[in-house]
Each structure stands twice: as C-alpha cells, then as structure tokens.
Symmetry: C2
Subunit: 405 residues, 2 copies
DNA sequence: GTGATTTACTCAACTGAGTGGATTTAGGTA
DNA sequence: TACCTAAATCCACTCAGTTGAGTAAATCAC
C-alpha cells in the first residue's frame, strides 16, 4: 500500500510506519525490551509487535539481546538497537574552529575531531568541512555508506540577517547561509544535512545524553560568545528563530542594554582585556579566566542577578520542568553563577510536583553541541515524532525500505 | 475493531477516527467543501472520503449544502456542518460577575447572559452557575441534550497557589479550585467541564473568531485586572501555568516591580482612585476611564514602554507570527497603547516573510473570553488534534458512537 | 444540437494493517 | 513429576483505505 505522504489523511501504510517507528524509538530509549513488554507499552497486540520486531530485525536495525530468566512463564527474549547499523555526524561550527563528532545508532560517541579553520572563504570552508568529515569517518573506522547524515550546529541561525549583520560578516555561519554550504555539502557527500543553531543542538544533547533525559519541557541556556536558548516544549524543539534570549532588554546599572552585552563570554573577555587569539575558545580562554579569577568573579557577581531574572522570566512565560545552563566556561564559573543566582524568584515554578532543579548546570562535555548536532540525522531517520521539523538538505534514508515487497 | 486508546501504537480503528475527525475539522474551518476537494486536501482516495462523508452525514454532523455549477464536469455536492447538531457553553468567571455564552456547532454565538454573583460560598457559586446554565439553554431555545459540554475560563489557574494566595481568597476561582466546582458541575449536569485560564480562552477565541484565524503561532495578551498571556505554538495552547506575563519583573522608575503592578486595569483603577463598585467591570469602569481621560493618558504613557519591552521579549523568546492585545478597556485606550508602543524593538520579528502586524488589537467583543471558553467543549468533542490536552471533568461525548456496528 | 471532454462520484473486488483465539514453548513452583 | 504461568507463534479473521472500472452530469467545441 502506498504511503501518501504529507496529506492530512492517514492510511494503513502510514500506521505501519508509525508503529515501526514507535517500537524502534522505545528500543532506542530503553535498551533491551521484550516483545511482550513492548506490546503492553504500545497497546498493540503481541502478534503485531512480533511482526514489527521481525521486520526491524530483518532490516538489521535490532537484534536479540539474551533471554530474561527468573520470572514465571517462558523467558522473554529482549531486543536491542544494533549500534553499528548507522551513524550520525555532528559539526559544531564556531567562530574560529569546528568540532566534529560521530555517534552510532545507539547514540554512543565513537570519534571526535577538532580543527581550526584558517580560510574564511565559503568555498574553502565547504572543502575543509568535507575533508574533516572524511577524516572523522576514517578515524571511526566505519564504512561511509553507514553514515545516515550530517548535523550542523552554528552559533546563529536566522533566515534573514536583520540584526547585527556586521558582526557576522566573513564568519563561518555567514558562509553557511549566504553560500548555502549545507546544500552543497549534502550534494558533495550524498547525505542529508540538517542545520540548527547551537543552543538548540545543545538542548538535543541534554535531552539525549544529559540532564533533560525524559523531560518534555525544558530550556537549555547556552552561554557562549553570545547567549542563546534552546526551548523544548511537549518534546519538540522550538523553531530556530525562537530562544534569542541574548537579545532580551535588561536594565543594567540604570541603562537599558541587551542581556548578552553583559551575560556572554564575549563581554567577559572584554572585561579581561583579551585580544586576538586569547579570545579563541581553542586557544583556551579558559586559561585566561583562571588567571584573572578576581575579575571573573566580578563579572559573575554582575551577571548572576540577570541570570536570576532570566530564570524567572522563562518560568513565567514557558513554565519549563527545568532550566539547564551550558557553557564552555570552567565548571567553577557555572557553579558560582548558579549559586549566586539564588534565591530564585518566588513564582509558579515552586510547585510541589517539581522533580528537577529549577536551574542546573548542563553536561560539561566540550563536544556537547556537536553531539547534539550528530543526533539530528539519526532522529530524522528513525523518529516517528521528530524533535523538530528541520529544514533538511538532501534526502533522509528510508531505513524501512525494501521490507515491503 | 476496538480502539485501544492512549497507547503509543496505532491501529485501523484509530486511523478511521482520525480521518473522520480530520474531514470534520476541515468542514468546520471552511464551510462547504465537496468530496473531491476534501480528497485532494487529505490525500485520501475519493472513495474513502466518500465513505467518511457518508458516515458523518448519517451521524447528523454534516449535511449537503447545494451543488457547485459553473466548472467543467459534473457539479460537486458541497457539504457543511449541521450547526444545530451540538452546542457549547462557555462561562467567563471574573472577580465580580459571570458571563455565559452559548455557541452552536458552526461556532456561531446563539445566546449570551451575564450575572453578578452575590454569594461567594463555593456551594452557592455552584448552584448559581447551574441555574445560569439552565437559563442560557432556555434562552437559546435548544434541547439540553444537545449541549456537548461546558468550558470555564477564570482569571487565574494554578494547580497550586504558591503565590498571592491572599488576593484569591474568597473569590470565584478560589472556589473553583479548592471546592472543585468543575467536577461538581460536571456531575450535576452530566456534561464534560473544561477549565482554562482567561488568557488561554481569549487565545482560543481569537483563533476561532478573531485576528488569529489560521495562525499556528501567536500570543494573546489579556489586559484585565491582571495581565496574562495565552500562547499558541504549532497550533496548540501552552499549558495553563505558562503565560504568566504579569509576573515578569521589570524596572519602573528605577525600581524592580512586577509588570502587572503597572500594566493592569487594577493599577489603572488605583491611579484613578476607584473604589468599591467603581472597580467592577460590570458597573462600568469604562465610564470612569472616560471621565478621567487625562489621568488615563498618563497611565498609558507609562505603560506603553513596558508593552514595547514585552513585545520584544516575547518575540525574542517565542518568535510568534503576531501578538494580539485584548482587553475590556475602551477601544481608544488600546489604540493609544499600541500607538505609543511604537517603535517596536529592532529584532528578528522584522523578517520579510511577516504578514500579520507584530502587535495588534484583538476583537472587542465583551464576551470574548466566554466565547473562547465555549469553543473548548466543541473542540474537545470533534478535534483530531485538540488545541490543548485539557483536564476534563466528566466524559466527552463520542459523536461517532453507533456508526460502527 | 451533438459529441467530446471533464469532473464527481460509486460499485465491487482487493491489499494489507492489526486482531483474537487456540496452541506451543519453556521456564518456575508445589 | 505434575501443574502453573507467561512468552511467543499459527492462522483465520475483520475492516481500514485503495484500486480500477464504470456511471452521471455538467461544460466546451464545432
């Protein structure tokens, strides 16, 4: 039966795809489940689940993972995702460098690379990214055919550059948009390419690897050169243009300014008198921050009240389950920021059903954003209800293809 | 085939229900469409649509609405919703009064009533609401059996009262929550009762009757005694605890205060020196506002910058298609507020794909909130993808019941 | 006018999704 | 050893939407 895509009406083929994706999604999130267990969760009949499991196994997406003894009745056969069945590549494009990560279908990181980009021409960047991807695949020791796609996270994603264009000129993400590097890369590699902003990728990473696992409503604040937020509501990411928290107007010392003119690494580095390569993340502004600890503390003291205000604002508008603060700053800076943000405003977030902290530190992995980016092609390939409706260059694989004939 | 509700897996029965709801939803939003047209939109086969149309007609939900001549080929038979097939009742509970509205299945208002509540005991309120509903049904001249449910909109909806409890004590909505009037009313009337906050109900009303028709992402700001927002994202309402914009912290004349301590009718009335019944909406604070125009202008001048800030803040966080300002204040006050809110902040909302104004005035119907509340039981009964996952007391009718045997 | 053309709609056979009851399997338990 | 329980399967079945042939009723071209 043909699947009539993108229509409002649903047919059996659609249902089948949905159920396959649902079962696969459950196995991905919680490894090792039996047919009977899946039937209970999905409320499908054991027979249907059995058929689906058979299909997925035939497609090489899952495999048996031993039997469970100890209970009454016949022991159940557990199944798990076949980690080596597919891979996702994530590129984190920052101002001065690129980090590339590769994760397998079990969402385990397999290889990482970083590279400082010397060229700033769009064509040069395109070529450099292509080489980096090849190198990453080689390093992981996998077949290029098994890569399902490429996710790109860049600091700013706007369909139009109505603001601060000058600060973007000549940068990587300028090339990304004006030169359509994503489309060209998709063509070069024959793979789907998905672009997101860094904060959204970070939110995906926290949802997959970090503090937001299992949460359906949360905010991820990414304190970088700028200050952005990835907002997840009802399990889905907000579109790229939302979450521009750095551009919120605040009053600082009597003057109305943008939040990120205070709360951003950019501003911290200004205060520390950093210049040239000392501003680069790779060259290690972390060292500078350590060396100028006193001045950094002052910045923290100044920023914390604004963070407190931001938490209250986001809570009042969005009522998330938790707010996660991520950054490449040293851990003690984040700890201190969160510490000084207390006491958080008295508002609805104080409800007794709360389980997660109102404000917490994110994972500290430096490849966080790249990891999130790497999940995108995997999610786009297998998820029934993808975290977001991404703009995708190229065509996503149909992992179920060939099962029906 | 049995529908296995609330499971993750889908079966044929689920698909059938979904397709029926989809077709019905299309006919509701755009009256008079033919089978062939619906088949094109839904991407279902003409045969399937024909079957569905047959079912819906047999259930009395739709009826033929004439043939379309003029084009080539056989003229198409249009169908439309049967307006008299069902009704929704909306109650707008404010501090000092209740407005009740009844709309038919074509979402046309059929009867309105208002009542000042003298009693404040929970039991008394319950009884009064019951009588008001009966009166409304009588006034509309319809059979009580045809009412599909009751929607209640109240100024504040919080699952717990962690804030400002004293200002809620003894009020209608205090009774609503602590005494569970919704549950009791559902039991009394044998009807499903759905509770929402007033701003969310207003957002529903704008989406159904007003400026937000066809929009999937917008904010509705409801400037009342307090200041709340209904947020619609991807066609769905945010849960009740979100949108508490009145509790955002702003800096006013050097002091940090809550937004609604300035931008709210409560504060305006304070400034106008209103007391007692002059504060009531029904007794007409509008007259007072007119009489004290100069002082009102001052309040507007003071509030507008905060409104400007709020628009920028919401845009940066949520990136809505439009922001709608609703209120019971006189029209000129809203016009002036919006006028003085210009120039709006320079941000991503300036994108060229914009079609709706960034900030606009909502419908001025005084029953706006009640109308939105009245849509809730109708939507809950027929929508495939309900605007929100409401907490519903009682059981929603199954309008398709009896079709399958 | 007349016939070709176009479009709406229907009939009846069909495909294939999940279902349900009987059955087999394989461990625990008395 | 005999019984119980739960997992998994066999197979006939139900009933979604689909398909393709066919009919009805309008407009269009000459």
């Amino acid at each position: 039966m043909k699947l009539r895509a993108s229509g409002l009406g649903k047919n059996n083929a659609y249902t089948k795809r949905l159920n396959r994706q649902t079962v696969l999604g459950l196995l991905r999130r919680d490894p090792a489940q039996s047919r009977a267990e899946l039937a209970r969760v999905t409320r499908l009949s054991p027979q249907s689940v059995s058929n689906i499991i058979g299909d997925l196994e035939q497609a090489g997406l899952i495999e048996p993972a031993g039997k469970v003894y100890g209970g009454k009745g016949q022991p159940a056969t557990n199944y798990r995702i076949v980690a080596e069945r597919g891979y996702g590549i994530g590129l984190h494009l920052d101002r001065d460098f690129v980090r590339a990560t590769l994760i397998d279908f079990a969402f385990e990181p397999k290889a990482r690379l970083r590279s400082t980009l010397t060229t700033s021409s769009a064509k040069g960047v395109q070529a450099a990214l292509g080489r980096l991807i090849d190198k990453l695949i080689t390093k992981a020791g996998i077949s290029p055919d098994l890569v399902w796609g490429i996710g790109i996270a860049s600091p700013s994603l706007r369909d139009e550059r109505v603001i601060d264009t000058e600060s973007l000129e000549g940068s990587l993400w300028s090339a990304l948009h004006s030169y359509e590097i994503d489309r060209r890369l998709a063509h070069d590699k024959g793979l789907p390419v998905i672009v997101e902003n860094d904060a959204n990728a970070g939110a995906l990473a926290e949802a997959t690897f970090g503090k937001a696992q299992g949460l359906r409503d949360f905010c991820y604040l990414f304190l970088a050169h700028g200050f952005g937020a990835g907002i997840v509501h009802d399990g889905a990411l907000f579109q790229a243009n939302a979450g521009e928290i750095g551009r919120l107007q605040i009053v600082h010392e009597g003057k109305t300014v943008l939040l990120e003119s205070i709360v951003s690494i950019e501003h911290l580095l200004d205060r520390l008198g950093a210049s040239g390569s000392a501003r680069d993340r790779e060259a290690g502004f972390a060292g500078l921050v350590e060396a100028r600890r006193k001045e950094t503390e002052k910045w923290i003291a100044q920023s914390a009240p604004h963070l407190r205000w931001l938490v209250g604002t986001l809570e009042n508008i969005l009522d998330p389950e938790t707010i996660i603060l991520g950054s490449d700053l040293p851990e003690w800076v984040l700890d201190r920021l969160i510490e000084l943000a207390e006491p958080l405003p008295h508002n609805i977030a104080l409800r007794s059903t709360r389980t997660a902290p109102r404000l917490q530190k994110g994972l500290l992995d430096r490849d966080m954003i790249g990891l999130g980016a790497a999940t995108m092609p995997l999610l786009a390939t297998i998820e029934a209800d993808p975290a977001s409706r991404w703009k995708i260059s190229g065509t996503v694989f149909d992992v179920f293809h060939g099962l029906d004939d």
